[in-house]
């Protein structure tokens, strides 16, 4: 090949700050298949269709050529797959049980009732900036905020964060297709997942004896029509919720502030009207989605997409961030425009695996961004683009240096 592989360019760290030109090129081949690689789907409508297609599986056992870590059953060293890596009916059962402690119909107000608590946490973090006039938004707000929230929701002690951080990092790195190739990193991720599970097991055992008002207690004591989760299921679900519960939100908030600082008119409008925050967050989920692609799908039979046959068991990547900027779907897709009439996106996926924590992530981002807009005086970017994290899937700045004149 005379040009560098498209896959390589997607994962290439050099393109992390602005991957969108690569995605634009990617969309020219809406079903991209490079030798031995995955089938990469990049048009909005195709992704949308596949997310609702019952021939598509999230379960690694259906891959012809799964990675080493992907098919570990309970008998292997690791935890069983969480519901994000399962198909119905197992997926549905586990997700229903988890949801009975999180959202409607059983707990319709759980998240909404956290609104005041969330605002307090953000206020506290901003107050804590004190006399500083230059901060790293990631370290000071965007990371500690969702971590505190998910810890409270699950019932994980906040002060244990340094401990679980050491396990979360390699697990998240394992999701990055670039590092996947190394068997070492796969083993590290697998080992970390087990360690994190064992740590959570201590808490879960405690909650089985003395339930509290938190999700770990609900998960381990679930007695609904779907029965109880096994201990292993409780652990893999808890690992999933702990990680997914903050890793993506960090990026949503950071990407959000970065985008607002690049579009100061919206920062000003948000300051004047916090009611604009839902629109801003929805457009952010389109414009800078924290989950850029879903690399873990396959098909349980040969399927055809735009005339291309994808053989059974192939790995399929759904490039959400590319679909979100598909001109076939969106007018002026590269413009950040919270006023656009149809605020739609693939930022939370769609179909049965659509983001479990979406209501929480939305509320967190809305509150964090409107509070930052309201309280930071004359905020500005210190470096643009900021340094990014390695990960191409869960993409976001590692640091976001912001200068400002004071707190309001």
């Amino acid at each position: 090949m005379t040009h560098p592989s498209m896959l390589r360019r997607i994962t290439d760290f050099a393109n992390r700050a602005n991957p969108y030109p690569v995605y634009e090129e990617l969309r020219k081949t809406p079903v991209l298949h490079e030798e031995d690689g995955p089938f990469v789907i990049s048009s909005y409508y195709d992704i949308e269709a596949l997310l609702h297609d019952p021939r598509i599986s999230s379960d690694a056992v259906n891959l012809v050529d799964p990675g080493e870590d992907e098919v570990s059953g309970p008998e292997a060293t690791g935890l069983p797959p969480s519901f994000i890596r399962l198909d119905p009916p197992e997926h549905d059962r586990l997700r229903r049980i988890a949801n009975s402690s999180f959202g409607p119909p059983h707990r319709p107000r759980r998240i909404e009732n956290m609104r005041g608590e969330l605002a307090e946490i953000v206020s506290g973090l901003i107050d804590g900036l004190g006399d500083a006039r230059e901060i790293d938004l990631v370290d000071e707000v965007a990371y500690p905020f969702p971590v505190t929230v998910i810890c409270r929701l699950l019932g994980v002690p906040r002060e244990d964060e340094p401990r679980f951080r050491a396990w979360v990092d390699p697990i998240v790195a394992g999701l990055d297709p670039d590092t996947r190739t190394s068997a070492d990193s796969e083993r590290t991720a697998q080992e970390a997942r087990l360690q994190l599970g064992m740590y959570l097991n201590g808490l879960v055992e405690q909650r089985a004896k003395e339930p509290r008002d938190d999700m770990l207690s609900d998960l381990v004591n679930s007695q609904g029509p779907d029965g109880a989760m096994t201990t292993m299921e409780v652990l893999s679900t808890s690992v999933l919720l702990l990680i997914a519960g903050h890793e993506t939100t960090v990026n949503l908030i950071t990407n959000g502030m970065l985008t607002l600082l690049r579009h100061p008119e919206y920062l000003r409008r948000l300051r004047e009207d916090p009611g604009l925050s839902p629109k801003i967050v929805e457009e952010l989920l389109r414009y800078e989605p924290p989950v850029q692609l879903l690399p873990q799908r396959t098909c349980i039979t040969d399927i055809e997409v735009r005339g291309v046959t994808i053989p059974k068991g192939s790995r399929i990547w759904l490039a959400l961030a590319a679909g979100n900027r598909d001109p076939e779907r969106f007018q002026d897709p590269d413009r950040f425009d919270p006023d656009r009439g149809d605020l739609q996106h693939l930022g939370f996926g769609s179909g049965i695996h659509s983001c479990f924590g979406a209501p929480l992530a939305r509320l967190e981002a809305q509150i964090a961004l409107s509070e930052l807009a309201r309280r930071l005086e004359n905020p500005r970017l210190v470096e643009d683009p900021p340094p990014y994290r390695q990960n191409a899937v869960l993409r976001g700045p590692r640091h976001l240096k912001i200068a400002f004149d004071g707190l309001r």
Partner: protein, 462 residues
């Protein structure tokens, strides 16, 4: 029409919409959104501004929403003259005038008919007048029924186990009220979804404590000395004591006011072309009278060009928008109404959704999940292709099946799907004979021909 004429219509024409509910409101909004600047009149027989009906048989009955708080949100200013609380009583096609119950007449250049349907009343008028015999269609109906349920009746009796009747039964059980449901067919929902799914609905009702009586008809309602209903007599000679009776026998199209007008209007609705233009009784399309919503029957390319009558919320919106658009444009700018039939319901904690036209289905196969668990997707086949799908608590897959219907994908479904169970083989969908009167399926296949052969024209006596 000349461009001049069209321009004049858009600037200063008079558009009258008969029917001030969902379809009427959305049509009015579309007209304004597309630049209609003339005079707009909305006529409605109920005294209320447009309101939403789906909650009336669900959250309203449970007291979770007030029947007077389901107003439809307005999407934009429509600057219309409202004639509410006054029914249209006649139409003079040649003079282009709508007659109103109060004797007024309203002239139009373009007319949209969106008069919808009403609940089919109990057929014995004296029995229907008994205190405690209820219908459920309007806001006032819902308010009345809600008050009666709140008062804690000893037993509610529901005649007809279609969607509306089943939803009321569900609300009663959620409130802990004893309820009996009588159904002429063999199971609930059979008219809409067939016997295979009907059997699931049977289990759902009986397990939730509904006293379900199938293959029976109600022969009479008995009142006490004070004129209150006290018992229901059934064709199997049993008698059930009840102090509230909900008549849920489907709906009747509000077309009587068009008798003698010369429009192709009858009990099955008003025939119109895919562009929402009404046919006259000869089968000739009019160009200034349009139809939208539950009262319309229009041909659908995906379903063999059969005329479909759809009592679906989404259809009312889509058809109103298309009708409004077509009312103020011409020729090639006009759009066909090719909405994919879809409806939803929720009862006994289960979300039911369907796409396509299930009653056309000859066979059904469960492609995902299981009937026994009441979580599944069922696919209906008609002459070797997929014609419809239904889901119980599996809504998120339906988009896929909708695309299969749109592309005429083959039936039986030949590919594997996640969560396929051994039961996933095609079986007879088991629809009752459509000629048998029952509660009505909400999708009615109403024939192929715009001009019904049996239609007889009786000119109105003015």
């Amino acid at each position: 029409m000349s461009a001049d004429h069209l321009g004049q219509l858009r600037r200063e024409g008079r558009i009258v919409i008969v029917g001030a509910s969902l379809a009427g409101l959305r049509a009015a909004e579309t007209l304004r959104a597309e630049g209609f600047a003339g005079e707009l009149t909305l006529i409605g027989d109920e005294p209320y501004e447009p309101y939403d009906r789906p909650p009336l048989s669900k959250s309203v009955l449970l007291g979770k929403a007030s029947p007077h708080r389901t107003d439809l949100p307005h999407r934009r200013e429509i600057d219309a003259k409202w004639r509410l609380g006054v029914a249209a009583t006649g139409l003079d096609l040649s003079a282009k005038r709508v007659r109103l119950a109060d004797g007024d007449e309203v002239e139009y250049d373009r007319l949209l008919i969106a008069t919808g349907v009403r609940a089919r009343p109990w057929f014995k008028e004296d029995e229907a007048r008994l205190d405690g015999v209820c219908l459920l269609r309007t806001r006032d109906d819902a308010d009345d029924l809600y008050q009666r349920l709140k008062a804690g009746p000893r037993r509610v009796f529901i005649i007809g186990a279609g969607f509306a009747g089943s939803e009321v039964a569900s609300a009663c059980r959620e409130m802990g009220i004893p309820v009996t449901v009588a159904e002429r067919a063999g199971a609930p929902l059979v008219g809409a979804l067939g016997g295979v799914i009907g059997a699931v609905a049977t289990g759902l009702q009986t397990e939730n404590g509904v006293d379900l009586r199938t293959h029976v008809t109600v022969t009479g309602l008995e009142g006490d000395a004070t004129g209150r209903v006290r018992a229901v007599h059934l064709s199997d000679e049993s008698v059930v004591e009840a102090d509230v009776v909900v008549v849920s026998l489907g709906s009747m199209r509000n077309t009587e006011w068009l008798n003698g007008s010369g429009l192709g209007a009858g009990p099955r609705g008003i025939a119109c072309d895919a562009g929402c233009r009404a046919f006259d009784f000869r089968g000739i399309v009019t160009d200034d009278v349009f139809v939208a919503g539950d009262v319309a029957r229009s041909p659908h390319a995906l379903f063999g060009y059969q005329f479909l009558s759809l009592e679906h919320w989404g259809n009312a919106v889509a058809q109103a928008q298309t009708a409004a658009h077509n009312m103020i444009c011409d020729g090639a700018d006009r759009r066909p109404h090719l909405w994919m039939p879809a409806f939803w319901s929720s009862m006994f904690g289960v979300n039911i959704k369907s796409v396509g036209v299930p009653p056309m289905g000859e066979q059904i196969m469960i492609t995902q999940g299981s009937l026994a668990e009441r979580r599944f997707v069922g696919v209906y086949g008609y002459k070797g292709r997929i014609i419809a799908a239904v889901s119980f608590d599996n809504t998120r897959w339906l988009e896929f099946y909708q695309r299969q219907i749109e592309r005429g994908a083959p039936f039986p479904v030949e590919f594997p799907t996640v969560d396929r169970r051994p039961e996933g083989r095609p079986v007879d969908a088991d629809f009752p004979d459509p000629s048998l009167p029952t509660h009505g399926p909400m999708i009615t296949l109403s024939g192929y021909s715009p001009a019904d052969q049996q239609l007889v024209f009786h000119p109105a006596r003015h």
